[in-house]
Amino acid sequence: MTWPMMVILILLIISVIFNALGTIGLHRFPDVYTRLHAATKCTTFGTIFMTFTVMAYSIRRYVIMTDGTKFLNMAIHTFVALIALLITNPTGAHAIARAAHKMGIKPEKAVKDDLEDKESEVS
Amino acid sequence: MTLESILMTLPYITVVVLFSLGLFTVLFKKNLIKIIMGIALMQNGANLFLVSLAYRRGEYAPIFTSAESTDMVMPTAHALTLTSIVIGVATTALLLSFVIMIKRHYGSINTDDVRRCKE
């Protein structure tokens, strides 16, 4: 068990734990918005760690073990996947939240709702 | 029935379940869009069937780029599945455009109402 392997394993465990938290949160939270918090964000974070893991793994294979360029390629493609994830995921979450609000779903247990006030002012 | 044998036939069982669920929807649901969803399910089942036929245990994807060895899964069924996927999307699009026109002419997409052609 060398140190790069330790690092990779730790990253992997973090990723699995955060994904698990997101999944649990999807069931524990009461309404759409809070579920979005738990599910989308935690799983995104977990998946980011998964990409880190794979990137570390493939760079290790490329640099330390010299297993060929296909691992360099893998690292770069994983990085592209990470970028795509970082751009698309929050936007998707925002779109869902906005759609839910326009549908008329009220945030549960909400203390304050500025957007609601604004929309009622307009209308 | 050991766990092993269940796992051996589970893909086929899934195929049959998907296919039958689709057929069930086409048979007994009245809503036209639901019927088309049933057809999509049947397509999924058929595609899964073809791909699971192609699998050879413990072998690699049929691409020579950075594969480990030449023991590869069977490529023909993959090609067939690709073809059937594209056929699926084409038929789905055409069917849905029919449904849109039906809604415009009949005001309903229930099969009980869409029956001017009879006898």
Binding site: I87, T91, H94, A95 | I63, T65, S69, V89, A93
Partner: protein
């Protein structure tokens, strides 16, 4: 009905269209090396169209030519197939000749783009066809829904049909 989505979505769309199209073309061109090919790449390119439709409600300036592009792609495909008629239809007459896409390749390798013969060209033709076709389907369907901004009634070609 608001045809546009929010500002964030639109900005992200603007940024994403180019990478998506490039990624689709990458899939098309490397169809003989990596997973992908005409259909998959074409579908990815068409998804850029879907993104524009959903974010802006219109398709920009290229929508008129789509069916022409589609037919041209198919004619290319069938012509390449028919060019092999010296032997039989679909004969790969370019492979191994050393010319365009005629490189040779053996064994397990990391992929070299100048190979494949007619397969690469057919990938390209099918990619053109599929991307145009799927974009056209999406556009035609979206016109019916009210998700899209309605077209201005300038065309006199279709509406004439009422008279006959």
């Amino acid at each position: 009905m608001n045809w546009k989505m929010s500002r964030i979505v639109r900005t992200v769309t603007d940024f994403l269209v180019v990478p998506i199209v490039i990624f689709g073309i990458y899939l098309i061109l490397h169809g003989h090396l990596t997973p992908g090919g005409g259909f998959q790449g074409g579908a990815v390119v068409a998804s850029a169209t879907a993104l524009l439709i959903i974010a802006y409600g219109t398709l920009g300036r290229h929508k008129k030519d789509l069916s022409t592009i589609e037919a041209i792609g198919l004619i290319l495909f069938i012509s390449i197939a028919l060019l092999g008629i010296g032997s039989t239809m679909f004969y790969n007459f370019l492979a191994g000749t050393g010319g365009m896409f005629g490189g040779t390749v053996e064994g397990i390798n990391s992929g070299y783009i100048n190979t494949g013969g007619t397969v690469t060209l057919m990938n390209l033709a099918v990619g053109i066809e599929v991307s145009a076709a799927l974009s056209l389907i999406l556009w035609m369907m979206s016109k019916e829904t009210g998700i899209m901004k309605p077209e201005k009634k300038t065309s006199k070609t279709e509406s004439k049909e009422v008279e006959n």
